[in-house]
Symmetry: D2
Subunit: 339 residues, 4 copies
């Protein structure tokens, strides 16, 4: 058994099984998807389903995806700041050489550019890569190793750590919110006033008030990165179902929700700057995860990112609505405890 | 099938299965544990195992756990700042009344205290609860609803949202790092120099350099909350195996690593301020998750938090060692790809 | 000359002279003040004056001040986390002993409480003091030195640095926004619609839109601490005029602005969590600074904090209005360049 | 009187006078400077002087300055995310048009590039300008106004606020630490062990310990932006003396200190990412400020930034040394109170 799972696990002793729920007909850019959500939090599937319905009745969700790329930010040790500047300038002048070194490590990887930083004798170079349909951290690590070897050979500059926390991988950081990582996704919907009332049992004004007082002001008062309600719940459920790396929920759940009146209807949007997702490699190879991807029509990585953005929007919409109508506790009493 | 999973999922269509690996003999406070790790990231189990061995040969990991409690921070709307101050003062003066209201919602919940904040007409009260062996967010939501009703009844002050992002639940925030949430855990180990060399293939000095340049300086340069290497990987794998809420990986993976020389040996520590974990309720009820908890000796929630702290320490130690010796890419080439 | 300035400067060679402007009739809690603003930024005095007029015509500014106290957070080195916990528990159990040690260093200083933190062998204790009418950092440093000596004597625990950046003094930090430092100030005003139109040349709706899109969303998108437009301008001008420590502009300018409709009028508020101000000691002793304080009626430190809060509100209101009506560039063209 | 100060102040009633101290012979890149420091904090001049001596005896301070440029980040309102992307793409495709519009507003201003961001219907474009010898915010505001008019004319996209807090001006933000603003400055020195002992009364090891436990770990534990001891003190004193905008102390004091052993000597560095300074315009026109600039040899803006970087290094070195030897309180008792 363990044999066939090489690349995913060592010393395997069995399987952890998480219940999988289904949400029907999320409409994203005019296309309909059934969502697989793996979770143990009662109410989540029902809540996403409700948000789905509300947007579906209003024309669906529109999504934009921007490919940023996976990043690795090794930290180097230089002799002084002048040598540090030389390292950065050398990497800029000899970029094609670094690009070639990276390209040799695999046919699906391509170095795009890098962003430098320096403090004292420490220099960070945040390399950004296109990794095709894969989430790509493995590829990126191996390619960065080659780049680091070229730098060592040419400049005799030592790499202290292949990852220097200027990537930033699986830690919450403003760098990722500001620069993006993996895929950046924006999703929006215009929900008709009557739908807000009938499906979400609230009003656009009340939803807007919660976005203002909780998602924005509450986030500012508590020193949060971003400003949203519960992106992490939906991201975690879809990541788990589709075989993504669960530690990437940390970066993947970063983001900002906005809401406003458009005429008398509700304009609602979410922005997710750092979705590290793939449709090949890693956990996506496993049987139940393959099935979940199939359920989504075997999407490309970009399409999958868009679906996740759409799902986050409807889940965020439904929770925000429940908070605005005072129904959160009731829902959790009903669906969050075993009957 | 769905019937028996009420409280965990709606519209269930099957199971997501994640491979479970085993790490042997993590020694925490003198007791030995076999760890269940659910992950699809090759090398993780092997790496944690290596860190485990290194600490075991050095006397094991010492752990301290502090029960902070689960929190909910509703946001209220007041007429002006003077009324806002009155609300806060009233809640302080009538705390026993709020405590009783909370206690009525369940026998395992106890309101401990609250922390207030105000900006303009918005007031947040971050209520902190003891929730026994449960992670407790469901209980806490229901209890806070009651508290909010008392406030509404007595003061005619309206609650805008039962969660006002001053909790902070499932979002990365400085408030949680500074105040703690759920359980705070500190873990430390003194790894003998010879063990660092033979088991971890590096030196204490090199590990200390990576902690300095990556975990601390790299985190500062990238605007990260906390300063660590990859807490999220170990937290996610143990949370998944033991039935915790996967969106809590966001808060649970916050924290700080430290390292320094002690005589010629390596002192290594991790601090996790916001572990939201439980051993009853939620996903812990499920069969494979129950088995994982049994494998750990059916720990209390506090003991489980301590085990997670110990596991994070050994996983962090092993990754930091691999980075310091330049072995990260090699390990991922060997174990991170299917053979 | 230098002799008489001992305590303020060494090796004195002259004076730096900054122009002082006057703003008339800021009404705070029903009392009228003429404000001294020392600045070299053209338009600032005129802008604050305009905001002043707008609130004066609407009943003035209401202000609440909370005395938090000055803080020092030394960092100690312990042998292990268990000894660290003992240090924290000892300080809690023997608090009166620490309080007495602090009290012996001066008649105007009183230790209130402390907030602990620990990571590995490092322990921080953030001591909070009442310092009467003084800003108090000097007193607090000397008192903390005594506390540290008691701890060293009783527990043999070494202090690494008397300030451990857990104070946090003169650096931007979430800890200060969340906990407060010095004085916390809230200020609010209800500006009549007609006044917004005639004096501020805009509408409540437009001002609210700028607060939303710039002060809140823009601050979130850029990883700012707090959410405001230009608190620093007004804080700096008043600090300079009244002899405050100019490096405290960093903490003193932290804060959050809110705005909303109240009926058809504009409710506008500011929150400043960390105003380190005094009316005795430091630069307040100097002649021109004494004159400025006299102009304000020789206020207490609490009253001064309230005046600053009121001035920040009117300055913030005027800038936000200018942005909302597209007049910022015009004003700077007219008043920001020499004619 | 007021006449001649048009552009700096309105409704002038007099001058605020701050004592000016002198520090001799700061050696930066081989050149010697006498520093004018305007402050009311006793010990500051003496402390900077001590750090100056320590570096002077060790070969002086080496400094690198990078011209980043002044920035303005207006926020625009678009109809939907698709229109938002079009706005960004249009600005990229028609960059030369924007550049020309900016150039027409003055001969000393040049648009370099811009950085976009989007959340829902809000789009921010952070324009970056070269402003010659001026700090330049006035010029930048006026130029951005023109750019905004072009966008409005061509695309019919409305600007909500000319500054959208994506600049970020005078607020503490991670964006500025990560991207830089104004001038980025790195400064470093190698202080001989014997000099650390004789001049600073401590050891390299003790200084390194304070940098680690206070500047880095303490800053992480308190949610600070950056990691330093007291950059703000030196920045404020030099800004005040040389006529800079005092509200820019907020951004200008951001930064990171590093220290490490080099052989047995002390390598010490500071990094300041966002120094908004100029040598023409604003407060630099005033008499005492002109004198201070003359004292520095009438430097260019870049040279002034380098001097400030050097001064921050020596001031930071001296404070860190005082903390490490337990002398902070003593120094403040001696110099921080009037005799």
């Amino acid at each position: 058994m363990a044999q066939s799972l090489s690349g995913n696990i060592e010393n395997m002793i069995g399987w952890t099984k998480v219940p999988l729920g289904q949400v029907n007909d999320l409409v994203v850019n005019g296309k309909s998807y059934d969502l697989p959500l793996a979770t143990t939090e009662g109410t989540l599937v029902a809540s996403v389903n409700r948000g789905c319905k509300a947007t579906r009745l209003s024309g669906g969700v529109r999504v934009l995806v921007e490919e940023v790329g996976a990043t690795r930010g090794p930290v180097f040790k230089v002799k002084n700041i002048s040598e540090g500047r030389k390292l950065i300038e050398w990497a800029q002048s000899n970029f094609s050489q670094l690009k070639q070194a990276a390209a040799k490590t695999g046919e699906h990887i391509r170095l795009i550019d890098f962003k430098p930083a320096m403090a004292g004798k420490q220099v960070w170079l945040r390399f950004r890569f296109n990794t095709g349909e894969a989430m790509g951290m493995n590829m990126v690590t191996i390619a960065t190793q080659k780049i680091v070897e070229v730098i060592d050979e040419k400049l005799k500059v030592k790499c202290v750590a292949l990852s220097g926390n200027f990537c930033v991988d699986k830690k919450p950081s403003w760098l990722n919110l500001i620069e993006g990582r993996g895929k950046k996704v924006w999703a929006e919907a215009l929900i008709k006033r009557i739908v807000v009332k009938e499906v979400l049992k609230t009003t656009p004004e009340k939803i807007i008030e919660v976005v203002r007082d909780k998602h924005w002001l509450g986030s500012i008062m508590s020193g949060s990165i971003g400003g949203n309600g519960h992106f992490a719940n939906i991201v975690a459920a879809l990541f788990l179902a589709t075989g993504q790396d669960m530690a990437h929920v940390v970066d993947g759940s970063l983001g900002v929700t906005t809401a406003e009146l458009e005429n008398k209807d509700l304009y609602f949007s979410v922005y997710l700057p750092a979705l590290m997702v793939g449709t090949v490699g890693g956990g996506t190879r496993l049987p139940s995860q393959q099935k979940a991807l199939k359920m989504l029509g075997n999407p490309t990585a970009v399409e999958l990112a868009g679906i996740i953005g759409g799902a986050v929007l409807v889940g965020e919409l439904s929770l925000t609505a429940a908070l605005s109508s005072g129904d959160l506790a009731k829902a959790h009493e009903r669906l969050g405890r075993p009957r």
